[in-house]
Symmetry: C2
Subunit: 334 residues, 2 copies
Amino acid sequence: MSEIRQDEATKRWVIIATERAKRPSDMAAAPTADQQERAPDCPFCPGNEHMTPPEVLAYRDGGGRADSPGWQLRVVPNRFPALSPAGEVEVHDPQWFTNVTGVGAHEVLIETPVHNAGPAELGVDGAARVLEAAAERFEHLRQDPRLRYIAFFRNHGRPAGSSLTHPPTQIIATPIAPTNVRQEIEEARRYCDDRMSCVYCETIRQEVTAGERVVLETDHFLAFEPYASRWPFETWLIPKAHAAVLEGAGAGYLQPLAGALQATLKALHDALGDPAYNLVLHEAPLRDSCEDYYHWHIEILPRLATAAGFELGTGIWINSVLPEQAAAYLREHV
Amino acid sequence: MSEIRQDEATKRWVIIATERAKRPSDMAAAPTADQQERAPDCPFCPGNEHMTPPEVLAYRDGGGRADSPGWQLRVVPNRFPALSPAGEVEVHDPQWFTNVTGVGAHEVLIETPVHNAGPAELGVDGAARVLEAAAERFEHLRQDPRLRYIAFFRNHGRPAGSSLTHPPTQIIATPIAPTNVRQEIEEARRYCDDRMSCVYCETIRQEVTAGERVVLETDHFLAFEPYASRWPFETWLIPKAHAAVLEGAGAGYLQPLAGALQATLKALHDALGDPAYNLVLHEAPLRDSCEDYYHWHIEILPRLATAAGFELGTGIWINSVLPEQAAAYLREHV
């Protein structure tokens, strides 16, 4: 089992997951990308279901046995999980060197049986299927009182940390609240205390009024380049209706969200030639009552630049692309 | 001039530096690494002094004109600076979309005239020369009341964000206090309020007692793998004597620091085959009176893994190498 450690000085949390370890000399090795529709040795391709742990969820239109072909989407535990479901959450704090047992979940959501279909090629129905499956897994994991947060993210392409061709989305449920989300919530609460409103709702109003950083707008969603984008072509997708968690938006939201998400990903794909990116859902931690002031959203962080010493050391980012120009360029490809 | 923007929701700062921009299609392009001692088109090689802005500092044992060959070390402004020296610091806060003019400094410290000498090959005298030059530039920049922080860092290798073979160290002076350092200071102050001591001094005591994460120890310095290392082989170099800023240690520290730094970099170089890394100095902001509880140190962050969606989204890191094992492996190469 892995171990979650806390740095005494900064309160920063780190999961020590040695099951994922390679030898130092292997770390830089890159598998060659392949382009076929089905790969014989890919654990996420139909026919290779035995190469993954037993599925926890799958959609099979035509029915069929678990862990057999014929599925449109499959969710399986990660083979090398950062966190594991068994055990109690124990806080070890021997005056120093605090750590927490690595209890949680780490699941892989295989979005499509097609080996080389990127997320921009899923189509609206495919994307809706992913969101529906995620909602089911969230519903299941949320019952677990040991868990504090469910991270839902997608690494696309090698510079974004993905070594696999076959597109997986990942879910990591943690017994700790994430540092970044806690910071966002603290700042949002401070704003709400001062102005009696949600800072994200105000952001939406300001961005719609300014217009110049908007990528696309639908009835329910806004895609835009944040004013202080950290990365070139950083793109946020945010619901116009206020809610602290995606589930708060209700099931009726899945189809409109799938439509807006696909349109956004396709614009990035077409404008930038299928760039590598990380896609991350930000929402309130479990059982954290911040409904008034937090506002869920999706952040898409293209990895067209490398965070270097200055960014890692200071937490200040250097971005070489003006968000207004990025938005104008993306709008041409919507 | 670039612009520093603040995100309303998180208070995160971003420097928008469009002078550094490439076209999106050029962003992934990689110049080929070369291995010769002198490169005819390298702006940091002797004979090519006209390819950089005029030097602000140089060491020439044999004397000689400014911006001519014969130097051991040269400091020049960055040709594409993230921040520029001219102008006032103006805060623009039109109710929303806060920004600050991009006043500051961005200098490049060319550590050696030898094109392909890595930082681990500088030798103790070479490293001491770098630290001496940095101290001179810090002394100069610190006089400027517009500045709040001086970041001193080194990007080594392409995965660490460096596109150049010829080793430069960089200095970026900012009119804002860095988010990360501010957080460190806030946590350190909280600890000091509770326990009336410095959390970093206590870390040194704990690590020396535990021993298992120590890489090397000299009379004045400790190199160790932090208990909650974010990256595989993350290595900190910290002075045993308490001081909030490097300058507080006095000029007598430069030679011992150069020795400890070279030994640490050489251990990483030999153990991991010249890995890419970011090296960053952490110290108190200018005119920030936190002498009791902050403690300067150097963080070396090898880029053997990629921060992906989970890390960027949550601020929680996943590290696949146990710090105790990393330390043991590095000790074999000291």
